[in-house]
């Protein structure tokens, strides 16, 4: 495929993704749900992909492009920090401390609990498989 075709293709796919974004905006405007419109657009797209209403090929180049440059898009909002110098105050440091402790706590508790749940799930799966085996062999004996 010539390169200019690839560029047009990517642009068209980005426009398709914009359509999903504006569907999200529309849903939020109508329902007043406290959700980011982009997340609603994401969910609509996942459902459409899952139901095969839209082919992955229709969005993959555009999505790949946008994801590749994603960090560029949040540089402007992040620069808004210059209007909030209070991050360098005592309260700002407490906030940062709270985030650090909370993150470490979350990793620890989630890691420990999910390891326990994971072992249970595996054990249950194995039991099920064994159960089906015995059922099948019983069936054969009759």
């Amino acid at each position: 495929m010539p390169q200019y075709m690839q560029i047009i293709r990517t642009i068209v796919q980005i426009l398709i993704l914009y359509v999903f974004y504006y569907m999200g905006v529309f849903v939020i405007e109508v329902t007043h749900l406290p959700l980011p419109p982009s997340i609603v657009g994401l969910l609509i797209l996942v459902v459409c992909l899952q139901l095969k209403w839209i082919k992955v090929e229709y969005i993959q180049d555009g999505a790949g492009f946008l994801i590749g440059f994603m960090t560029l898009f949040f540089i402007p909002p992040m620069l808004g920090i210059i209007d909030y110098p209070e991050l360098l105050s005592v309260k700002g440091s407490i906030l940062i401390g709270a985030v650090i402790i909370s993150t470490l706590f979350t990793i620890l508790i989630t890691g420990i609990l999910s390891q326990k749940i994971g072992k249970k799930e595996m054990a249950m799966k194995e039991e099920n498989v064994r159960g089906e085996d015995t059922l099948e062999s019983n069936h054969l004996h009759h």
Partner: protein, 225 residues
């Protein structure tokens, strides 16, 4: 005219910083971090108010909406990973979201921080673009949220392995879930050292947390504020 200059200089600085990160892939050389560190003093020295910068910056920021929608693509591609450990992954993400919200909320209450600060900190475990949009939805301060998200990422990448030792967390699934749902992209970059399975479960968990967190955060705010 000025708007165009702001757009071009942001893109050029970001591009150069991406090249730098490609050459030396240290987490503290992430383009978002280095570009911001260059642009902030530049704006301050040249005495450009943020509102003026945003006359150009808004056009870049506008792409954030469809970019977040694009996250549906990797999420859809990774759906087969959920299969075998369905309950573990989904319950793990719920545990991470709830423990993350409650712990940061309680610490903030303990130190009597204002509501606007607490709301700003709540989405900290989500991936930056989603966290900023959630922050906006729940009336936090999005740029401040972005900084806290970065901090949560670095804490995970630097101190996460220590938590794994402390909690005797040895399975790749639980390492992936806990890092992906607490420290998003920056944290999971550390999982490369552990292996492919850690990394893929990590990025799946990051995507799912973004969606689950975007729903749970506003509900949490609705209940407690």
């Amino acid at each position: 005219m000025k708007a165009t200059i702001f757009i071009i200089s942001t893109v050029v600085i970001f591009y150069l910083m991406s090249l730098l990160h490609k050459k030396y892939s240290y987490p503290y050389l992430l383009p978002i971090l280095t570009s911001t560190i260059i642009l902030i003093p530049l704006l301050l020295i040249l005495d450009i108010p943020y509102a003026e910068y945003m006359e150009g910056g808004q056009y870049i920021q506008h792409l954030l909406g469809p970019a977040v929608v694009s996250l549906a693509y990797p999420l859809y591609n990774q759906r087969h990973l959920i299969g075998k450990y369905k309950y573990t992954i989904l319950s793990g993400i719920l545990i991470a979201m709830i423990s993350g919200l409650i712990s940061v909320f309680l610490i903030s209450l303990l130190f009597k921080l204002e509501d606007s600060y607490i709301l700003t900190a709540l989405p900290k475990s989500l991936t930056t673009p989603v966290a900023m949009q959630v922050s906006e939805t729940i009336n936090g301060i999005p740029p401040l949220t972005a900084v806290l998200v970065m901090i949560a990422g670095f804490v995970g990448a630097l101190l996460g392995p220590f938590m794994y030792k402390l909690g005797k967390i040895t399975s790749p699934i639980s390492r992936g879930i806990s890092m992906g749902s607490a420290s998003h992209g920056v944290g999971i970059s550390k999982l490369k050292d552990y292996g492919e399975e850690d990394l893929s479960i990590g990025s799946l968990s990051m995507g799912l947390s973004a969606v689950v967190g975007a729903v749970i955060c506003p509900v949490f705010v609705w209940i407690f504020f």
